[in-house]
Amino acid sequence: MMIANSLDNTFAALADPTRRAILARLALGEATVMELAEPFAMTQPAISKHLKVLERAGLISRGRDAQRRPCRIEPKALAQADMWLAQYRRLWESNFQRLDDLLDALQLAEAMPDSPRNEDVKQEK
């Protein structure tokens, strides 16, 4: 099933720890609602609610087998999230690069001779 999803939907779906754990389980292979509900202290209807959110976000799809309706992971939506993720890492790297620059500036300011006499000595040399 192909739905054009915004990243907002994807990340809103990923923002819940239970849904992330469901995805972690599905990364190992497809599973039924019953199998997914097992490790959680949750009812099947509660798990089904989470699955609907994941399905709407395009992160999982459900099989046609009416009885089992196995869930599987949809790599395309994840790939889209992945691009955002690379940006996120770059964001922290740019934060730290700005911090590098700030630290350089602070150290330079500390090392600078601030009295006029020091300036004179420098110029004479």
Partner: protein, 159 residues
């Protein structure tokens, strides 16, 4: 030359981000705790702006950061300081306004200095088992797509 950012998962509950800075740790500590300095680097995307940067640097004191994106939307987060040992250790509990880390995180910043360089180690401890499972285990399962590897990294970096 840029120092490398390293992400590790040393145990089941924590994520650790390590980065070296070419400066003594008292300056690095200042950059993490003085609003006029924090405002200059903890910005995120280059075209975002800091709108709130309040820091009450004492045990039990609060901090609050809010940024504004070019489209006018705002993102905020806040926390409470638990331990302050200048210039080597800072512990706080933190929560984003839109709680996307599955509850509060316990953050520990440790600064060690060697030959004038400072290693900053951020430890982020997740609030619950479920949060840990989601954030840490997601990418550790076998047979993942390459995208899933990166997703794990993303979840780990939600600090």
């Amino acid at each position: 030359m840029t120092n490398k950012l390293i992400l590790t998962t040393p145990n089941d509950l924590e994520v650790v981000i390590t980065r070296v800075f070419n400066a003594p740790r008292r300056l690095v500590f200042d950059c993490y705790t003085k609003p006029e300095l924090v405002r200059q680097w903890l910005i995120g995307p280059a075209n975002w702006v800091f709108v709130v940067c309040d820091i009450d640097l004492r045990v039990g004191g609060a901090y609050r950061y809010v940024w504004r994106a070019p489209d006018g939307s705002e993102m905020g987060m806040g926390g409470i300081y638990r331990e302050i040992q200048a210039p080597e250790r800072l512990v706080d509990v933190q929560l984003f306004d839109e709680d996307w880390t599955g509850g509060e995180t316990l953050n520990t910043l440790i600064l060690t200095e060697h030959n004038g360089k400072t290693t900053a180690t951020h430890r982020v401890k997740y609030a619950s088992l479920a949060a840990r499972d989601g954030a840490l285990r997601t990418g550790m399962a076998d047979g993942m797509s390459a995208g899933f590897d990166r997703l794990d990294l993303y979840l780990q970096t939600l600090v």
